[in-house]
């Protein structure tokens, strides 16, 4: 009897070690699937699923163990930061996730700083673009962008490319303020003149008045920063309706002109110049792999955007960290593994700043043209490996 019992115990031990060799690593993804920011959740998730289709749903750890990478998706509902924070708590405590990701909005990303420190859980920010976020906790890593990276790049480019006077019309929220500040700063530093600056309500769609003011100020270009979707579409419509385009005034923008949004614009948008860290139609092999996979899996809903590339690169970094440290390392170990890593991202070369854990990447200036009957962004300039200018202006006090 005793023999039999010990035999069963031995079997049990074998069974346990057997299951231990396939460990699970859970990542909680917080993003909006409903409400005004509903596209973000789906875009993140589609890219993650496409990434796992190509690179597998498991990673081999340092000791050769198989680590299953599982994602737990939660809808932040385009609501306030409280909701994102509550979801993060639930994911850490109940779902026992070892890492958090997603976050299309800066307030959402900022709301989980304390949780990350208490639970030692790394947070991979896949979009939220307020420069200061990564300073909030040593557990943040960002794979998207900072708004000053955009604003500074296009301001400098404009001044160096024959644009002397600019009227800026930006949305009255934190990213709009950052874009305005860094555009003004770099444009003026390169010899340009700001002839007027307006801030518009966050969800404004009636731009007639601002266009009239800009028209009267006779600038060479109008610089805009508006949320993607209806505000920016209305903006371009008003720009052309009011005759600014006909008057030869150029339009400079940011992420409003992502490929995802382009079909919703009329042909008035042709000629618009915008700044971005990801040109969807770039011909790098890494980009082709990502785009083909997304189209294969999701059909016409597989159009890539900055959310896709942010999520894709986040997964690539997470897989690297897991290969180095396995499924149950300390949170900071994963962060250290990501620091200083360079990747051939679908957007081009990127690096995680070893000091700031923020992204260093190429910034592209593009012009909208009609290519094969479709509106498309065409790269006209590349500014290589840009570090977040805000962090250069605001060094860490030691």
């Amino acid at each position: 009897m005793r023999k039999l019992l010990s035999g069963i115990c031995a079997l049990g031990v074998v069974a346990m070690t057997g299951s231990a060799s396939a460990e699970t690593f859970k990542i909680g993804l917080i993003a909006s699937y409903t409400g005004a920011f509903a596209t973000w959740g789906t875009q993140f998730q589609n890219a993650i699923e496409a990434f796992q289709s190509i690179h597998g749903k498991s990673v081999k750890g340092p000791k050769g163990e198989i680590i299953d990478v599982q994602l737990v998706y939660r809808d932040a509902g385009s609501a306030g930061p409280d909701k994102a924070k509550q979801l993060a708590e639930e994911l850490v405590l109940r779902e026992k996730v070892s890492m958090l990701g997603g976050f299309e909005l800066s307030p959402h990303a900022m709301s989980v700083a304390d949780i990350s420190k208490q639970a030692k859980v790394p947070i991979v920010v896949m979009n939220a673009a307020t420069a200061s976020i990564t300073r909030g906790s040593p557990y943040y890593v960002r794979t998207s962008l900072t708004i000053p990276q955009w604003g500074q790049a296009i301001g400098k480019w404009a001044a160096e490319n024959g644009i002397k006077k600019v009227y800026t019309i930006t949305s009255d929220y934190a990213p709009g303020h950052d874009a305005e500040a860094y555009f003004h700063k770099s444009f003026k530093a390169a010899g340009g003149e700001i002839v007027g600056a307006d801030r518009t309500a966050l969800r404004e769609t009636n731009f007639a008045v601002y266009m009239e003011k800009a028209l009267q100020a006779k600038p060479d270009a109008v610089y805009m920063f508006q949320p993607g979707g209806s505000p920016s579409i209305s903006f371009v419509k008003a720009f052309s309706e009011r005759g600014l385009k006909q008057a030869g005034i150029k339009l400079l923008g940011n992420g409003e002109f992502a490929e995802l949004y382009l079909p919703h614009f009329s042909d008035d948008v042709i000629g618009t110049i915008s700044v971005n860290h990801y040109t969807e139609t770039n011909t790098r092999p890494e980009n082709k792999i990502m785009r083909d996979q997304l189209i294969k899996q999701f059909g016409e809903k597989g159009v890539t955007d900055i959310a896709s590339v942010g999520a894709w690169d986040a997964m690539a970094l997470i897989y690297i960290a897991l290969r180095e440290h396995g499924a149950s390392a300390d949170g900071l170990k994963y962060i250290d593994a990501m620091k200083g890593k360079t990747l051939a991202s679908p957007r081009g070369p990127i690096m995680i700043d070893p000091e700031e854990r923020d992204i260093i990447q190429n910034i592209y200036i593009r012009r909208i043209e009609k290519v094969g009957g479709k509106l498309q962004n065409v790269d006209i300039a590349t500014i290589p490996m840009v570090k977040d200018p805000w962090k250069i202006d605001n060094p860490v006090k030691r």
Binding site: G35, A36, A38, T39, D172, D198, R199, T200, A201, R203, T205, N206, A208, V209, Y210, E212, K213, G229, S230, I233, S234, K237, A238, S240, E241, R242, G243, Q246, L260, Y261, H264, S266, D268
Partner: protein, 289 residues
Amino acid sequence: MLSFALTVLLDGISYGMVLFIISVGLTVTMGLMRVINLAHGSFAMIGGYVAGYLTQHGVDFFLALLLATVAAGLLGALCEVTVIRPLYRKGELAQVLLTIGIVFVVTALITEIFGAFPYRVEFPVYLTQPLDIGFRTYPAYRLFLILVGGIIALILWLLIEGSLYGAKLRAAVDNPRMARAVGMNVSLLFTATFIVGTALAGLGGAIGAGILSLEPSYALKYVVLFLVVVIVGGEGSFKGSFVAAMALGIIDTTGKYFVAAAAPYLLYAAVFALLLWRPQGILPPKSLA
């Protein structure tokens, strides 16, 4: 300076016209039927999406406007008979809850069918260009809005002030119990008026898409504006809603011109001031005056 003032005025009036066309139906619903219909914006949104779908598929713009108006009116009829009618005299809470529920249902349906992105109405090319109006060039689209809004206001004015239907409507707004007592079929009048109101909202949603852009959150996003027009004008007052829509359009536009930073608050400050001055609205119907 004169041309500048005229430009601001035109910008304000064209915006006001959109608000008027969409809100005039709501003012009757709230004034006549005493139903707080928060779903009113949904009909404008549906009209806009119908016109958008048709124009994107090659249907003539004006035919699309007509069909959008009819579609919104038909859905309005369906909605009045099935949902709104049981709500009369049910109290405001029930009305608010049910109609806001309709907003959510419509928003979800639109997202499901058309996606979460903004939706485009294809205007004829000549409406997307600036037009030379003598002292300057001005967007043809905005002139079109003023023209259509003006025609609708004129027709409604003739209808309400000059026809038997109008006389009945005014009587029912001023004193619904008396109207019933003298043998008027108030239910039929309600349904007919609700249909006209929602049809106009549909038209407004379609032609106003260049200013109030179409997206699934439309119904919720703009309903505050429509309610403001109704309340400031005086519930049930057709003339009041016209005056209020113009006033708000012009105040909003002028505000953005001169104090852009305060513009989002200025509109509400103006509403606050107007309501302090006339709590029942600018031109309330007789029963409330």
